[in-house]
Symmetry: C2
Subunit: 372 residues, 2 copies
């Protein structure tokens, strides 16, 4: 069996050794005579898996004790509603819009209170950057400030220095306003100071595991303020009270996430990931920038994502051929999002340096064959 080099944006490739372990115990988990997906979520076998997954995630992200970790369903898209249902309480929240996902979060929140557009970097339908931190006039009475720290479609990332400057300005000009972040597509790709945030959420299907589980990390004081019409299952207070088991959680997806967390610890955690992720991104952007304009990435240098690298070729016909030839060469998942077209290479934690080296070599070959 051959495994392709997988650059899918999500659902994305998972570490091969994680898949092998899950495959080996697929019909009989640790001698219980059943798959882990075939037993009660409240039974010993799954509870051990569940508790270990949370413990490992807490260790990997150094999550402080005054934060709860919730395993939920519905993806980031349901959090776009669930966060304001739980946090807005008739007030207003500030939104920074830097791409498709933060725009969706902004629009959805307006159903549950006031969503204020603090800043948008949209220019003629395109997004290429984060707003200048110094330009942001926060509402000091806002229920929260919302940011998407990595825009998967546009390839725009808030790196650590941006995060530092943003949170410093926020605590100076709007002290007490919690920062809420959608980190779906770069969580665990680098160390993170959780205490800078009031709430962090992410769908699993990029750096965590298969699609079907979403994780929310929320500071305790933000729990317990849900609107009365919030569904029982979407009230953070209930999720905390029942340890994410108000009803049956997506047990297999949580188990897979746990395997990924465990492997990440063995590999040196988020610091080790950050080092290799920087190396991979540097290599790929260098291949784009050094192509005499054959490959083009339009994102401001300081905001280029280390996870999602969208780029264009001279025309759509060449882009289609690029995707096709790449697939024939064992490089899959390179087609850009339907809303923006072009190419997108997603280079999450599970994508090896070797995979990026192979892609870069393919890009050079393709260019030499097609340069006009």
């Amino acid at each position: 069996m051959t495994r392709a080099y997988n650059f899918s944006a999500g659902p994305a490739g998972l570490p091969t050794d994680v898949l092998r372990q899950a495959q080996a115990e697929f019909l009989d988990f640790h001698g219980i005579g059943a798959s882990i997906m075939e037993v009660s979520h409240r039974g010993k076998a799954f509870m051990a898996v569940f508790e270990q997954a949370e413990a490992d995630l807490r260790e990997l992200l150094a999550i402080p004790n005054n934060y709860k970790v919730l395993f939920v369903q519905g993806g980031a898209t349901l959090q776009f509603a669930q966060v304001p249902m739980n946090l807005l309480g008739g007030r207003s929240a500030d939104f920074i819009v830097t791409g498709t996902w933060s725009q969706k979060a902004y629009r959805e929140a307006a159903k549950y209170g006031t969503a204020r557009l603090l800043a948008t970097t949209e220019e003629g339908g395109a997004f290429r950057r984060l707003p200048e931190v110094d330009s942001l006039a926060f509402d000091p009475k806002a229920a929260y400030l919302h940011l998407c720290t990595n825009e998967t479609i546009h390839g725009i990332e808030a790196h650590e220095d941006y995060e530092t400057r943003l949170t410093e300005r926020l605590s100076r000009l709007a002290p007490g306003v919690p920062l809420v972040a959608d980190m779906s597509s770069h969580i665990l790709s680098r160390p993170l100071q959780v205490s800078r945030y009031g709430l962090i959420y992410f769908g699993a299907q990029k750096n965590v595991g298969p699609a079907g589980v979403t994780i929310v990390i929320v500071r305790e004081d933000l729990i317990g303020h849900a609107a009365p019409t919030t569904p029982t299952l979407l009230d953070y207070r209930n999720l905390v009270a029942d340890t994410s088991m108000i009803n049956t959680p997506p047990t297999f997806a949580i188990y897979m996430a746990g395997l990924v967390f465990s492997r990440l610890k063995e590999k040196g955690g988020t610091a080790a990931m950050a080092e290799i992720n920087r190396k991979k991104a540097k290599l790929l952007y260098a291949a784009i920038d050094g192509s005499d304009g054959f490959y083009r990435n339009a994102v401001d240098l300081a905001c280029r994502s280390n996870m999602n690298v969208p780029f264009n070729l001279p025309d759509a016909e060449l882009e289609a051929r690029f995707v096709k030839d790449a697939e024939a060469a064992g490089l899959i998942g390179l087609k850009g999002h339907k809303s923006v077209g072009g190419i997108r290479a997603s280079i999450y934690n599970a994508v090896s340096l070797e995979a990026v080296e192979t892609l870069v070599k393919f890009m050079a070959d393709f260019r030499s064959r097609n340069f006009r």
Copy 2:
């Protein structure tokens, strides 16, 4: 590797040959070089899986063309809110309460309009039956009538004759009021006349697949009436418009459900399942009823579930020993729900006649060893 006889209530056992197939293609699905869980939900490979799963389910349940099939998340518990969000529209709905799950559905709906308790069969905290159909005084102006057709915890099932009498009376006394049913724990266990219902929903983790996907079958005229505060992801109209792909669906869970559907077709569909399920249930209830009171099931004969068979032993200490000895004998998942205690044998489609025969034999042995 040994597979135990698995009587879990859910997440429940899956067909061993389905697990074997998923295991075989776990790292490389049909030569694409990746697991089906590692590729885009909008790509060719998964779209083919997705469309086949829906087509097979439509065939298995003979779903009429004017019904949509939605693959969602959150389990039946989220439908307890999502159904009234979409269907209630400021009106009142009637609820038949026959156990824990229908009670939860009833309580949740009150957040979104008027939930009227049409009938409850609760007696001193216990549930043993469905209400007499002839006693039901429907509200002819109700937005819908809600019923849980199989109460997993209490082992109470609305069989085909009950369903026939209920729907006939409903269409006579309250014509046009759609029947909404939670069928989580007996869907696909017998033939079903979908046209009798306005909406049917079920979590996957009993007869369909792993936990993490929920299926909604909804008549077209009931779509498009969601309350304005309904989250984008929970509005049936949006789910229909984006074919359940407003965001990333739980792809692996859907794939597994598809494998179960395909296998069910090979095995003769719901009619074949009904025959074997009746045989299994008859055998197990006979073992209980013929035990001189050692094993006791308190449900009214006409309402006994063919899927979930709860029973008691003379005391809690014996029940604990029963569970422990059964496990040692390779029979797992027999502990009753924490809210009611006792024993519960769930004998879903994936539980073979051989498994029930083994259980019945174990019950006889256990009784002879412990009869006092």
